[in-house]
Amino acid sequence: MLSRTADSLYWVSRYVERAEYLARILDATTRLTNLPTNYGGAGTEWQSAVSTAGCEEGFAQAYGEANERNVCDFLTFNPDNPSSIRNCLAQARSNARAVRTALTSEMWDALNTAWLELQRFEKTRMDREEFARFLDWVKSVSLAFDGSAYRTMLRDDSYWFSRLGVYLERADNTARILDVKYHVLLPANEQVGGSLDYFQWTTVLREVSALTAYHWVYREAVQPILVADLLILNRRMPRSLAACYENISRFLDLLGDTYGRQGPSQRQARKTLAGLSNTKIDDIFEHGLHEFIEEFITENNRLGNTIFEQYLQ
């Protein structure tokens, strides 16, 4: 297939995944700010949402204060923020449009319908209720797109490139959620394991739809180390870094087998996966969660570049 087609398929999925992630951040942040202050309302939630989204710099330039209105505006409809939900969906659709013939009509339909509906949302003044509906809608767009890809695409290289986009983006997002919550949100004078901490970690789980899963797996009250275990190492948890890399490695191997040639991206993914398999959560905490996450995000980006060099250019 054309390298450009593969590249676009990969980015369509990444952007849809990112839009969903932004909606999840906003949803969780709204929930967190609704808590009474002594349960977690530290006042830094909106700043933290911006950090989690990875666009502090752009936000600082566009707005002064990180309050609900500014942050919601910036992360949803702001046309100047390349990573706003609006622009993610626009980019996804634009990439999809460029390679329409490589998408199934169901996938195109999901994106195109989303784009048309988005314009309707953009025009309405939103109260909190409408905003919550909007966030739910963004998640449903991602589900519809993902589901139609899963159900309708031929299992060939187009599908594998599209999946690679999903899992690389998801790995990045999960890592960011963990990192920012651990270091930005918790005020210095607050005790690790205190009630504030508890609610914030619960938020982390909620952001990735993992609260129920957590209880099923650990049958314990929410603790940072177990949350990290779930989201980093637990392969049964579909958003965990280990699960993402299991998929990345699998799809890269399928590509390598089909094309009859292995390359640097296959080796790199396998190495990261092996690293995640041979690590215990205690080691990570000992080494420093933040350091671990930072290294992971760098590695993940590096894999993105390797895939680009090997296949997409």
């Binding site: 297939m1 390298s3 087609t5 013939t101 009509s105 195109n112 048309l116 490139f161 250019q313």
Partner: protein
């Protein structure tokens, strides 16, 4: 000026092709028609048929309005038209082979040499180059208009990269979905074999060095081009790769596409990029849409470009006025399709007449297309007429003029109900190594504004499904 109506002729009769349709129109309440129209629009929007209008920042994507009432031709009407189209396209290809080869028509004085040599679309690169299988214009879209029950005029020969065929196909698809009952009462000749015919045409002109299963791709300027939807639609229907310039590379005069498995050789390129942007090494050096070296590969005989480079010299509006002579010269037959009487403003007498009658005439730029740069005298205001008067005096050779034609009308569903609107027709004619084919019908364009004669989608025109009745 009362125009010929496709359904009622001069107004009193009911023409045979339209009997069943007329009954259906009378039986169907306006609300039902309105509902079906909105269903059709929803369908088009969802599948993403959109059309970009240049210079219209607000809407990079806009729908071409679709009218749900079909335009109907009887089989004999179509057969005559088709014969005329084959003759015309045969002549166009022979003319191109001649002006880039022996130049017999110039020697015989059929057409003034400067119209060829000084034509911006005459490509010196192509002189004495033998195109694969001798075919220049593989895909032609001949715009015809009808003025009475027997007479079709050719309005324009589109020999470069004619667009619109996706609308022909999608219009039929929508009609089949929305009005199955109409197809039960009419025997409508199908058009959905067009992609197969096109693919066969493209395959037939592959270089002789190519394998029996040549690699074909469609070269698009990209998704911001007004016809991008059509490019992706056709690539999909043909099962070929849709490539942009940056997807192709040329090495040792061979064209390759960049794939996830490395470079892959390309044999035939259905290009939807204009000559000027095709190769920055040969044409406009600032073009980022094209492929450096592609012309070299073409001339080395390693790849076929469809259409060939330089076909624009044949559909130029000044050359157009000589088409009846050109058809006769190459085919030895009387032209079956007429030309619209045309004043060549380059001729002083003609220009004097044109200047005196601007308010009655349609004036067109020789190199314009898409309804841009055109004066429709009867609908123009004083200022517009004066602007054209100045242009005509300054550069008469840049223009032609034609009487305003009474384009035929066809019943159309508009705000006030069903009313006659002017239409034209663009049939698509394919020329390959195995001959000429033409699917029945084509794209009917309709001027939705009452009295308007401009059917171009860039100027607010719409489209209709076109039916050729099989019995």
């Amino acid at each position: 000026m009362v125009a010929f109506d496709e359904m009622t002729g001069s107004g009193a009769e009911l023409r045979s092709a339209y009997t069943a349709l007329d009954r259906w129109l009378k039986e169907t309440p306006a609300e039902t028609l309105a509902l079906r129209r909105s269903q059709a629009e929803l369908f088009f929007r969802r599948i993403g048929i959109t059309f970009a209008v240049y210079g219209d920042e607000e809407s990079t994507e806009r729908l071409i309005p679709f009218d749900i009432i079909p335009r109907v031709l009887t089989k004999p009407e179509w057969e005559k038209l088709e014969k005329g189209l084959r003759q015309r396209v045969t002549a166009l290809n022979m003319f191109l082979a001649d002006v880039y080869g022996p130049k017999e028509c110039l020697k015989a004085g059929i057409i003034p040499p400067d119209l060829v040599y000084r034509n911006a679309c005459y490509q010196l690169e192509m002189v004495d180059f033998k195109v694969p299988h001798g075919i220049y214009c593989h895909i032609a879209g001949i715009d015809v208009v009808r003025v009475d029950s027997d007479t079709f005029y050719v309005l324009e020969d589109n020999a470069r990269t004619p667009s619109g065929v996706s609308y022909m196909l999608e219009n039929r698809e929508v009609m089949l979905r929305l009005f199955p009952e109409l197809f039960a009462t009419h025997r409508v000749a199908p058009v959905d074999n067009y992609p197969d015919r096109l693919l066969a045409t493209l395959r037939s002109v592959a270089p002789r060095s190519a394998s029996s299963d040549p690699t074909i791709c469609l070269l698009t300027p990209g998704q911001y081009n007004s016809a991008f939807y059509e490019h992706s639609f056709l690539a999909d229907k043909l099962g070929i790769e849709l490539v942009e310039g940056s997807d192709l590379l040329v090495k040792d005069d061979v064209v390759y596409m960049r794939t996830t498995q490395g470079p892959k050789r390309v044999d035939v390129i259905y290009r939807r990029i204009d000559d000027d942007f095709l190769d920055p090494l040969v044409f406009r050096s600032d073009s980022i849409l094209g492929v450096p070296g592609i012309v070299g590969a073409y001339k080395a005989g390693n790849v076929t470009l469809c259409n060939a480079i330089g076909t624009g010299v044949a559909d130029d509006k000044a050359v157009y006025s000589y088409m009846p002579e050109i058809v006769k010269f190459y085919t030895g037959e009387e032209p079956i399709l007429k030309n619209v009487p045309t004043f060549r403003c380059r001729e002083p007498e003609a220009n004097a007449y044109v200047l005196d009658n601007l308010e009655k005439l349609v004036v067109k730029e020789v190199n314009g297309s898409g309804g841009y740069g055109m004066l429709v005298g009867p609908h123009a205001n004083k200022a517009q007429i004066e602007t054209f008067r100045r242009k005509l005096k300054a550069q008469p050779e840049g223009f032609i003029a034609q009487p305003t034609l009474a384009l035929s009308t066809c019943p159309t569903f508009v705000a006030s109900g069903v009313a006659p609107r002017h239409v034209d027709l663009r049939p698509y004619v394919l020329s390959g190594a195995n001959g000429i084919t033409c699917v029945p019908g084509g794209l009917t364009r309709v001027a939705l504004k009452e009295g308007s004669l401009v059917v171009n989608s860039s100027q607010g025109g719409g489209t209709k499904d076109t039916w050729v009745l099989d019995a």
